[in-house]
Amino acid sequence: MSDITYRNLIVDGLWHNNQALVALLGLCPLLAVSNTAINGLGLGLATTVVLVASNTTVSLIRNFVRPEVRLPVFVLVIASFVTAIELGMNAYFHELHKILGIFIPLIVTNCTIIGRAEAFASKNNLRRSLVDGISIGIGFTLVLLILGGMRELIGQGTLFDQSHLMFGEAARGMTLKIENFHGMLVAILPPGAFIGLGLLIMVKNLIDKRLAVRAMAKTEYAEEIRGLAN
């Protein structure tokens, strides 16, 4: 697997193999807690930390675990990290932990994490697994953040509401609010999550299509130049 460059790993994690927009994994937490940007960011970062830790560990133990028992072992590794994160968040971000509630322990069932452990970390060395964990995690977090921001803005006319839960009291001023705006409630409710994610996927596919058209035009242009030169 020497053809995997770190650059490719990062681009794949953020864009081409984005777990939320392309693989559509981990939708349960993605749809459930993305009602505000801060909730999305909180869960995204927690997931990223777990992902990086589990990818690293799985990569380190990949040569000692017999293939017959690899999945239970991976699940145990992930569960331990999730437990640690949960206790940590409860201690340091107590309010946010209360809002995210059951979805922190449920990170353990996030298909993205076991998916990366099985598909990538168990077959690659430590450094690659680490980069993969970071880029996949950030890709997932970005989608959560954008979807959360979108729903929050349309649903209640604010952005980064309750940011003090995450960044401390000093961040209260970060909240943006549109005055006299009656939000469109459906965006905050569950249907808004599905419609919002659908729209994000649509935008991504549209950009991909445009890029493909442009790349094709470029090659045609290059061939034309070559033809002229000959």
């Binding site: 469109m184 409630l185 965006a187 249907p191 419609i195």
Partner: protein, 347 residues
């Protein structure tokens, strides 16, 4: 020698989409006229606004999809969606909510699934539900029918309110709006009042709300005409009404003071409109005859359940959307046996 063809079929049935849609539009006219009569110019403004924006959005999406625009616009399906939506919403709804509802109905619910014939959900009802759960205050501010209204707004006053939200003089929104009969029934039942007590209010007519029940009658006329013209089948409306009435009768016989008279349910809210015009949408309803009976009856039962124990006063839109989801499954299990292809009996 000349041979006249005398064998069947003697009559042909015109089955083009635009013909069917035109019949639906014609059948809606009496009901819409009655609504304008009872609720004033707001209804007409909604109808015009909804039709214009539906056609505009439809043309826009069809252009984006690089399809020929004219055939799609002239099949009148967007107009039918707009009319059904316009009669479901309150006459005083702000203009931008009407436009937003039509944008959602045409772009998201209809065209994103592939256009007419591919949409799993009824566009008008999906838009209605979207607005109802997003803007509950605006969507439940109904005016009373003119028989009960203390303040009559003129056309220009209504137009001004719909465009800018400004009411003439000292009037407030509370002064010109009133709970709908279903709302009234529900609120008072929650206050543990008896039905004989609730019905003392001048709000009530013979069965449903004063004025409201007559609108139901006019829609019923259009609906029966559509059944007569075979634009719709009789299975869905009949099963819908039977399902609703039988549920209502059971509970009414059980306790007539806390469960309203069955005909109250039929002539309140959107039941007649729903039974004949909305549940019968050929795209989103069941297609097999047996399936249509199940589909209609289930909507009727759901309407009763949601009205009586659910969170919203009326339930036609929710019930129709829920059964839209179930329609393909019902069709699958009620497929008629092809002639000559029975089950093979083991010998």
């Amino acid at each position: 020698m000349e041979f006249h063809t005398l064998s069947s079929p003697h009559t042909k049935r015109v089955n083009r989409v635009d013909k069917v849609m035109l019949q639906v539009v014609l059948a809606l006219i009496p009901g819409i006229t009655a609504m304008i009569f009872y609720f004033g110019w707001g209804v007409l403004i909604n109808v015009v606004l909804a039709c214009l924006s539906a056609v505009a959005f439809e043309a826009m999406v069809i252009r984006l999809r690089k399809r020929p625009v004219m055939p799609v616009l002239f099949d009148l399906s967007a107009i039918v969606t707009a009319l059904l939506f316009a009669v479901a919403i309150p006459p005083l709804l702000p203009w931008w909510l009407v436009v937003m509802g039509m944008a959602f109905a045409i772009i998201m619910v209809k065209q994103m699934y592939g256009g007419l014939g591919y949409n799993p959900f009824n566009p008008a009802m999906a838009a209605y539900v979207l607005l109802l759960i997003s803007y509950p205050v605006e969507m439940t501010s109904w005016m009373p029918p003119y028989l009960l209204a203390e303040h009559q707004l003129t056309l220009s006053q209504i137009l001004a309110f719909k465009l800018s939200g400004i009411l003439p003089g000292e009037l407030t929104l509370d002064a010109i709006t009133m709970a709908t009969p279903l709302d009234q029934m529900r609120t008072n039942l929650d206050l543990n009042q008896m039905i004989s007590e609730i019905r003392l209010s001048p709000l009530w007519g013979d069965f449903g709300g004063l004025g409201w029940e007559w609108i139901g009658n006019w829609f019923l006329m259009g609906g029966i005409w559509m059944v007569y013209k075979r634009t719709i089948t009789w299975q869905i409306p009949l099963a819908f009404l039977t399902g609703l009435v039988s549920m209502a009768t059971i509970f009414w016989l059980f306790d007539a003071e806390s469960f309203p008279f069955p005909l109250f349910h039929v002539f309140s809210g959107g039941v007649i409109l729903g039974a004949f015009f909305i549940a019968t949408d050929p795209v989103t309803a069941c297609t097999t005859r047996a399936g249509q009976l199940i589909y209609g009856a289930a909507i009727g039962v759901l309407v009763y359940l949601i009205r009586t124990w659910g969170g919203y006063p009326d339930a036609v839109a929710f019930a129709v959307l829920l059964m839209n989801m179930a329609a393909p499954t019902i069709d699958y299990y009620t497929r008629p046996r092809t002639y000559g292809h029975g089950e093979v009996k083991s010998e």
